[in-house]
Amino acid sequence: MSNEESRFTALVNAHANNLYRYAYWLCHDREQSNDLVQETFARAWKSLASLRNDDAAKSWLITILRREHARTFEKKRPQTSDLDYENIIDPEQSYDTSTEAYVLRKALHKIPNDFREPLILQVIHGYSCEEIALMLELSRPAVMTRLFRARTFLRSILVEQQLLDRESA
């Protein structure tokens, strides 16, 4: 295996899973997420030489994926529900099946993509507000506003659900 191939394999192993999750929250569809990630790494392979620093690989891959999503899949975004995952749970993968998680996933599907995307980048990928602003080509205050509104909305949904649970208990 050449150095290039080894490097590429390492990138795939390190980032494919979280990239898939990011793709899922962009397009809400498992098949499209799979296709997006496949296409992202295909493009990454072709332009691997342009990646000078492997520490920047994650944000580089996310940028490729976002562009690919905008180019190809945004037009055919389906409406999908959490039931897609509820029915195909792989017992070997940890998957939160609690009511809170179910409620949060449903709510995540509903919030506008403009709010969901920065939240996913922060919560799953651990990016700071400055990094998110760079990746999404927004100002830092805009990112902060979106994060605030996304989290506030989701918390209110969860609190409402918890109140309902108490009432019915």
Partner: protein, 239 residues
Amino acid sequence: MNCLQFRQLTVTEPANREKDFLEHQISCQHCQAFARDIRKFDEQLENAAKIPVPNDLVSKILNRQTMSMRRRRSISKQLIPAIAASIIFVTGLTTGLLYHSSPSQSGVEQSGVEQALVTYVNNHQDNHQSTQTVSYTDVSETLSPFGIALTGDLGTVNYAAPCYIRNKMAAHLVLAGERGPVIALFMPDEQLQSKQIFRFGQYIGIIVPCPKGSMALIGFFGEPLADKESRIRNSVTWL
């Protein structure tokens, strides 16, 4: 920093590490509890958002990359023994006259290529209906394995991918034409000896031999293929 500012910042960025933020958190018990609550919520959110990943995701990605490398190596081997990528251009005609090549070219060979092109175009109509624009980079990458360097502007390209013509690899582009899509097929392994024009259904096609290979241009009847030929000649270099 006051409590309101702290709480707004906590909801926005729970993992904030700014000095003012951390100092307020230490000094205010109520805000400390608030921050704890938000972080607990974030854990729930993270767990909810981490949906399962297909078990074969990584292997599919790596397999695709391996296949891509093998395909490129195979094309290179075909190009090396004296048949490099070549493009057959046929001067575009609008009169629709159909004629065949000079006697020096085997009629059987040319008619075989022509028939293969007719079959290919008829079987790949979907590719010719694409309205998405292919980037310059993607077009260049499609042509480069065939020894063709993209050096200019081909105009709008709506499709670019390798394909098989008569079981031999070729580069397939679809360009925007005046009357509809114009199909350009670059065939490095088809060394035709003479120009050819042919017509089938609503299409007119031209095949032109070049120093390194041949290429076909196919468009709707009435398409000025000469313009396309000229633009392609000015936009590519055969290596």
